[in-house]
Every structure is written in C-alpha cells, then in structure tokens.
C-alpha cells in the first residue's frame, strides 16, 4: 500500500493568528513520523488541513501525487487517509462495537436499497467487519466494554476507541492526534508496538502528534518540531530533541 504525503507551503490563518506558516512536511511511504511542539504551535491545525476540515489559505496538500487541497473530509477518507481527534468524538449512544463497525469502508448496508432488500450483501460484510473488530478490541483492551454505550467509557478508553476506529478503516495513512495521552504507559507501548507492526506488515504510514516523547520517540523514524506555526526542526528523533531551537521553544513557550 503506497502512501506518500506532502504539504507544500501550507499556511492557515485564524483572524490575526497565523496557526500554520508555510509548513512543509513529508510522510514517506512505510514511515512513522512524529510531530511535536508546544501547546498552540499548530499541530492539530495541520492535521485538520490535511484531513480536509480546514482549507489552507495558501499551499497544497499532496497525497500519492494527487493534489487533495480543499477536498472534503469524506473524500479524503476515500484516498486512504484517516484521522483521529485529539478530543475524542465517539458516537456516544452507540455501542463500542458499533463505533468500530461504522468505520468500515464502503459498507453496502449503508445504502437504503441494500439495507432493505439485499441483506445477504451486507450481512457478509458485517461478519467480516465483526471479526476484525474483535481483533481491534483485543489489541486495545476494550473487549469487556464492547456492548457498552461509548458514552460510558473512561477518558483513556475513549482515546483507545479513536485509535480503534482508525484501525478499522483499512487506511493507508493514519493521522493521530495525541493517541496515547491519558493512556496507561504499558498499553501505550503495546499500541506503539502494534503501530510498528502495521507499518512492517501492511505498510501503513503514520503521522503522530504527541507530547509524550518518553513513550513515542523510540518508535518513530522522523520527527518534525513546530513552534508558532512553523517547522523549526526536522530529522532523527535524537537530533531533533537536542536541537537548541527545539529546547528553546519548549522552555521559552
């Protein structure tokens, strides 16, 4: 599965604030890229621009050579990019399992005609999806709550559910906004292990925004550091975190 994401000179302003200032990043095929930076440095905004939630004022987003700038979120999903939300957005009144099943790509049962008259068509798909959902539940340690309403989950479990939905969606690239914030460290490491194995086996790519450097840094290939909407450093994890500019950005706020 190829996946090559680039942003070219992406700029996004909110009134007087320049949340993104000519940002260039690249997530190469089969890579796990991390995006760090102090609060308010523009990380979530960048994800929102890539995933089609915001239109950039300037610049382009390219995915596998296609210019996807300004596409709608559901169109971007179809290219294989799936995002998670920093603040979880579960379908609250649906079961955990249904939250996962909803992420299934082009489910025939989601058309009115099929839903009414061609049950064989979607039941088969539903069974496959269910099988996959059980694997995801097991990985994320959510089996016990599978038939609970998502509204009844704990904060950490909701973060896990965000990841679970993305894994269900057969993505090529997952944009994760703080996936392990609030998740217990041992599970967080398991999730990171799984991410690496998905990269190795299914050749998925990841762009991970995370403040928990202690947990995530060891698993990633490349790090971008942002400050005030600009990329201030890029490279191997060890190089970026010892970059004086990065240290300065974190200390100076």
């Amino acid at each position: 599965m190829v996946s090559d994401l680039r942003t070219i000179n992406v700029t996004k302003r909110f009134g007087g604030i320049t949340a993104l200032n000519s940002v260039n990043i690249r997530v190469e095929p089969d890579s796990i890229v991390m995006l760090i930076g102090p609060n308010g440095s523009g990380k979530t905004t960048l994800i929102n621009v890539i995933a089609g939630y915001y239109k950039p004022d300037k610049g382009h987003v390219l995915f596998n050579g296609f210019d996807i700038t300004g596409w709608l979120p559901h169109e971007i999903f179809k290219t294989g990019i799936v995002r998670t939300f920093q603040i979880p957005r579960p379908f609250k009144k649906l079961s955990v399992l249904d939250n996962l099943l909803l992420a299934v790509r082009s489910n025939p049962g989601e058309s009115i005609i099929n839903a009414l008259f061609r049950a064989e068509k979607w039941k088969e798909r539903e069974r496959e999806a269910l099988q996959k959902a059980y694997d995801v539940l097991e990985l994320l340690d959510l089996e016990r709550v599978k038939n609970k309403k998502a509204a009844e989950l704990s904060g950490g479990q909701l973060k896990l559910l965000e990841i679970g939905r993305a894994l269900m969606a057969e993505p090529k690239l997952i944009l994760m906004d703080e996936p392990v914030a609030g998740v217990n460290p041992s599970l967080a490491h398991e999730i990171m292990d799984h991410i690496v194995s998905l990269r190795n086996t299914l050749r998925l790519s990841f762009l991970i925004v995370e403040h928990r450097l202690d947990i995530v840094l060891d698993y990633v290939d490349k790090v971008y550091a942002m400050s005030h909407g600009k990329v201030i450093s890029v490279g191997k994890p060890s190089r970026v975190i010892s970059d004086p500019q990065v240290v300065e950005a974190y200390l100076g706020g």
Binding site: H74, F77, F85, R89, K92, L101, L102, E126, K149, A169
Partner: protein, 342 residues
C-alpha cells in the same frame, strides 16, 4: 355495537395518518437529528397533490367539461359527480387512489429534496426555522392561488371508495390506510436496524467524526429528508381522501408540533416509540372529539382541551421519562448474541 365499530374504524384511519407522520419525523429527528419543524409542508404537499389533481383529472370522465365551468366555484358539485362516476368503476377508483397516494409521496420527496438544500449550508437551528417558514409559505400561497386547491374555497376530493357504502366503505378505506401505514412502519423499522440506521445515529451523534470515517453526511441527510417527506406526502394524500376536502388553512404549523409531541412522548430514536406516541395522541384527541358529541354545550371549544391534555402528558414525560416512554435502545449485533449463547 356498530357505533363502537365505527369509532374503531375512524380511529384506525386517523391512526394510520399519524403513525406515518410520527414515523417519518422519528426517522428524521429521532434517528438522524434533523430538526424538521416543517413537517406540515410535506404533509400538505401530498394533500394538495390530491386536491389539485383528483377532481380536475376525473371530471372529463364523469362527463364534465371544465372549459365551460369554473372548477373552483363548482368543485363540490364536480367532486360529487366524480364520486358517483367512480362508484360505477371500482377498479379505476382504487387505481386512482393508489396512484395519487404515490404521486403525493413523490411530491413530498421532491419538496424534501428542495428543503435539503438549505440543510447543506445552514446550522441545525436555522434549518428548523427555515422549514417552519417554508411550510407557512406553502400554506399562504395555496390559500391565495386558486389553481392549486381553490384557495379559500378548498378543493373537494372524490371518494374512491364510493363503490361501497356505509360501514363496508369506512371499513375498507381504513383497512387500506392501515395497510399502507403498517408497511411504512415495517420498512422504516427494517431500515433503522440495518447499517444504514447505524449510520444515521452516528451522524446525529457526531457529524465530524462520521465525515472522518468517510460518510457523506450531506448526502445522507438529503436522502433521509426525501424519504421522510415522501412518507409525510403519502400521509397527506391519505388524509385528503379521508376527510374529503383539501383546505389550505388545515395545514397550519400546529400540525407539525403535534407530530413532534408524538415523537417526544413515544421516544425519539425508537420506531416502536413513534407508534406509541401516535397512539397516545390519537387516544387523547379522538376521545375528546367523541366526548364532545355527548357533552352539554361548554363555554369553550372542547378541542382545545386536547392541547391541555397533551401539554400535561408532555410535561410529565419530560420530567419522568425524558427519553420518552420507549427510549432508544442500544443495538446489540445478532452475531454477538450467537456468540454469547455458544
């Protein structure tokens, strides 16, 4: 005895109409979260279709030349001649009935499609207001534009069941109506239990997350509004045939709010709830209507008492069962149950 049967038959006819309205609003609001405050517009769309077409279309068959006669001034007369003609042609009468109910639902769907345009751009609350206003617009235009349903005169609808008479006629008509309503209820019930229904709830719960998972929220909303409006249109057509006349002032916003009360009392997001809500409304409304005929003259119109009762029921439900008498249920997938039983 026949009196009670008559009441039941009348009850069934009204229930069929309310059931369809309540099911359609529940699909839109209860499942999908679309605040359709314009339900009456789509209901009127179906009723006006019957009012505008039925008499005019059948008049030539009944030997009336509409170019020599002002239809609106004489529509009661024309309507009764047409009914008399239909009495001799049962097959044609039923075909016309079915065809116009379908036409009513198509007009409803078309209006739903039109109304879905603002829903692409407007936030939910503004959409609600827009729908109220468009419903009023349709009513006011039709009140003042005779070619539609003869404005303030109203348009008489021919009786497609005039080949029967007395109780047999009422019974057959109610049976037809109830069959259509039950079919609608069953179809919607099947739909909301499918992945499509799950998608609707997801859109209601968290629109942006649904988009992130590739769902075309705008398109789904459009489909739902069209389907819901088609159902309301069919209900309007049935209503027009049932009461025998289409009068624009009958299609005031109050009707919309009554349907909302049914859905909220019954339980939004539950298909059975919609059926129960409609039943409760009907019970209050019809009981009082019947009571009225037995009551001495009161200093006020007993019909208003319906609203008092409904208001009280609504408040009690909101206090004690805020999610309705039959709340939305958590869907547990079949296969899971199988697994549990193994």
């Amino acid at each position: 005895m026949i009196d009670i049967l008559r009441i039941i038959v009348d009850f069934t006819a009204f229930y069929s109409i309310y059931l369809m309205l309540s099911v359609s609003l529940n699909l839109e609001y209860g499942y999908t979260g679309i605040p359709n405050f314009g339900k009456v517009m789509f209901f009127a769309g179906g009723a006006f279709t019957v009012g505008a077409i039925a008499g005019r279309m059948l008049a030539p068959l009944a030997g009336i030349d509409l170019s020599k006669l002002d239809y609106c001034m004489n529509n009661v007369y024309v309507g009764s001649l047409v009914s008399r003609y239909l009495a001799q042609h049962a097959g044609l009468a039923l075909a016309v009935f079915i065809a116009l109910v379908i036409a009513g639902s198509l007009v409803g769907a078309f209006l739903g499609w039109l109304a879905s345009y603002p829903s692409i751009r407007l936030r939910e609350d503004y959409l609600g207001m827009t729908l109220v206003v468009s419903g009023e617009l349709l009513r006011i235009v039709s009140l003042n534009y005779d070619p539609l349903v003869c404005g303030t005169f109203g348009a008489k609808t021919p009786n497609p069941f005039s080949f029967l008479s007395g109780f047999a006629m009422d019974f057959t008509r109610s049976a037809f109506m109830f069959t259509i309503a039950m079919l609608t209820w069953l179809i919607v019930g099947r739909l909301v239990k499918s992945p499509f229904g799950r998608l609707l709830k997801a859109i209601r719960e968290e629109e942006e997350a649904a988009e992130a998972l590739g769902k075309d929220v705008v398109k789904v909303r459009m489909k739902v509004l069209m389907l819901g409006s088609a159902i309301a249109g069919a209900a309007g057509a049935l209503y027009a045939f049932y009461i025998g006349i289409v009068h624009p002032s009958d299609y005031a916003p109050l009707r919309t709010f009554i349907v909302w009360v049914m859905v909220i009392i019954g339980g939004a997001g539950n298909n059975l709830g919609a059926a129960v809500g409609a039943l409760i409304y009907l019970f209050v409304d019809r009981t009082l209507a019947i009571a009225k005929t037995y009551m001495p003259v009161l200093p006020f119109d007993l019909n208003y008492l319906t609203y008092v009762f409904l208001g009280i029921i609504l408040i009690l439900v909101l206090i004690f069962k805020p999610e309705g008498l039959i709340p939305e249920s958590l869907e547990v997938r079949e296969e899971i149950r199988e697994e549990a039983s193994q």
